[in-house]
Symmetry: D2
Subunit: 246 residues, 4 copies
């Protein structure tokens, strides 16, 4: 009996914490038949003048595209690292990158690439590596970007070996010496690599950190949303791609 009460009180609390935005988002994402990509073809092209004005703003912004590699998002790879819910955001991530390029935002492709021995992967995952194979081993197919994603000239590829894109990498140095003050983050997965990168970015005092809510994903919606909530609580902005591109 009391366990029912406990449950109800939990649900109540949850309800209260779900704001309109999240409801709207959920509705779109899980009830709309799958398509979560905003229609953008009809967006009116901006005048050259406003683009010039915007370019000043965007030159201090970098987009971090995190872990969008086959072993993380392509079920066909049968990787133990597959993120359920990863594949579905590939088109949104691609679209976010397209917007970033249009705006002249510095695009950084953050990827895991591990030694075939597994010597540079977390110890608790090292059993996945043997015979020169394992998740996102450098040079193997699983380490490639998901189909449809390509690194263009002038964009930066950053190799990491842990959750956070800042852990034991030169990322902060690359960004700060390039005049970057603001970050926009897309990719997978929300509770681990996305969130750790975001919290480190806040600790490293980037002025504005933005996570595009429908260009990031976790294994389950409630995991995604509770992490979005926590990031909002420390000042991170969490628009949809549609809202961000306005």
């Amino acid at each position: 009996m009391t366990s029912h009460l406990a449950l109800m009180s939990c649900l109540l609390v949850l309800l209260l914490s779900l704001d309109k935005f999240l409801l709207h988002y959920l509705k779109k994402r899980w009830l709309s038949g799958g398509s979560i990509i905003p229609r953008i073809s009809s967006a009116p092209s901006k005048s050259r003048r406003s683009m010039a004005a915007a370019s000043a703003k965007w030159s201090e912004t970098a987009m971090l595209v995190i872990d969008m590699q086959k072993d993380f998002v392509d079920p066909a790879m049968r990787s133990p690292m597959l993120v359920d819910g990863g594949q579905v955001v590939v088109p949104t991530v691609a679209e976010a990158v397209a917007v970033a390029r249009e705006r002249g935002i510095f695009v950084v492709w953050v990827v895991r690439e591990h030694d075939p021995s597994g010597a540079d992967v977390e110890v608790f995952r090292r059993h996945f590596y043997s015979g020169g194979k394992g998740p996102t081993v450098k040079g193997l197919k699983g380490a490639e970007l998901a189909d449809g994603l390509v690194i263009k000239q002038g964009e930066y590829k950053l190799v990491k070996t842990r959750f956070s894109a800042f852990f034991a990498t030169p990322l902060d140095s690359v960004l700060k010496t390039s005049g970057i003050k603001n970050l926009v983050i897309v990719g997978v997965q929300t509770p681990n690599c996305i969130r750790q990168t975001v919290f480190d970015a806040v600790a490293l005092d980037y002025e504005k950190v933005t996570v595009i809510i429908d260009a990031t994903a976790a294994a389950r919606p409630e995991i995604h949303l509770s992490n979005i909530r926590d990031m909002k609580n420390i000042g991170v902005e969490t628009p949809t791609l549609e809202e961000w591109r306005r």
Copy 2:
């Protein structure tokens, strides 16, 4: 209408993800009239022999007590950094420390101590500092440990300036050169300093990371629990103090 459907699907997912343990925990914590401290007085004292055997095990374990300072857990301080739900875990934290001491576990008191200028606090919180005052300023009352918590000889005080106890501190060096392989974590608050420290500990390859679920706290129960869930998902153990002391 569809928004109701969305809500219901969300709740269903939530239900499925709540395992018996969490329900049990919630019931105890929010419905039992407030007391969350396991009764321990009747615990049978262990024989000397088993303690000797255990001591080998515990000599490789450290307990990190995080942010148990007045400005974080004592409402009387009226600090903007107060963690709702922090004060209630002070006794459990004290008890956990007592158990750690009994076992010969290395106790590390992780505290924030900031310069009066605020020059070493996150930029987004720097507006709280002026006139030589602000949350957990070194030397002020708010930076002191909560009443009932004391650093004993042989225990280590580590000063940090960001969420994670490992960020820009010598903590990893202190622990690894002391032969520490396992961490037990208590304190506040779950989504920020606890979780960031935990994820960094995993990235730094500590063999076993344990978060005592009722000796840590967040502003709201659902925040606490969703973060516990995410930590469990990367292999962190999350016993109650009662379970851990067995």
Copy 3:
């Protein structure tokens, strides 16, 4: 016979690498009867106008005063960490700090403060710590600043535990978020803490790094000078205090 030849060739190479400046410096420092402090009392005071102009420049500069603690520079402490040649630069360091204050430069006092257990000191030095005592133990006299040096309000005290002031400390964060781009470094000792801090500062892309050659010291002049040479070779400026204050 051949060993004499070897020696001569070594000396020859050394001669060629000693530029006039270093000779001048050596002459002043070891042959002038000890006084290495430039006479400054007769310096004409600058007009208010030029000071205002200068203040813009100096607001982006920080002075790091490194390890000027009794255990490092005061022979009376009988510390195993005493730097021969340290005490003699105390007045020059004091003078450099006075100039920095006059210019509105942000002064950072970098000190070692170790736990009585020695748990946070380099392992190879840990044997110096026992019974709660050891070099620069927090709270003991040896950790205090050398006589004549005082931290004033608005200045920052940074505690480090390794050679480099940037190693496992929030220094880079404090400086960068304070708008600091240039560093001026004084203290002891040249081959270890000074040089490691300088090389890390270069790696961290501070725009201009200056080491005041007669406000830094090593156990022996040739050690001091060879390190000054190496730092010059990576772009560090190495003026005398007299030159820097112009």
Copy 4:
């Protein structure tokens, strides 16, 4: 007149600080007609038994081969980063690696590989990068290992972007989780990448750090030797390859 005195006193001090070992080394290196490679063909092969005993010891040792890339050591590349004196040690480095392999030592190839944009190189060197070219740009010939050096299976390639092999890289993590406690270091160049890596290794508490004196090099012998002296002063061992292979 006094400048002559200054000079003489300097030389005297230098003489006193040159121990027999360095003299011996100098004699061999600069007076013997160029060959600095110890003759090893006649070394008696060790019995299988002693090799088994030794393997336990060497399994905790890693060799770091630093910056042995064409742009650093091959004059034909006409790179602005060429280290005078680098090419001459290539055979000794190759020999040291051969010894390491024979002993079962973990070999780590530390290389610089920069983005064509130069975004991850030190700011003060960024002017060398334009049109997709620059020193040790990833994928270009200058980033390749010097002729005669090859990465074998089971060896690790570590990419760095600053002097120290530990700066913003996962090296410490790779080594410590592989059970490595001791480091042997070869490559170029002594005052910068070698020394910074060595000092960081000491700060990171590796138990024994060894620099092979004739498998490392600097632009000029006195630069090499003064840095060897400083490293010896903090406990680093500095044998010749001949001595180390005994």
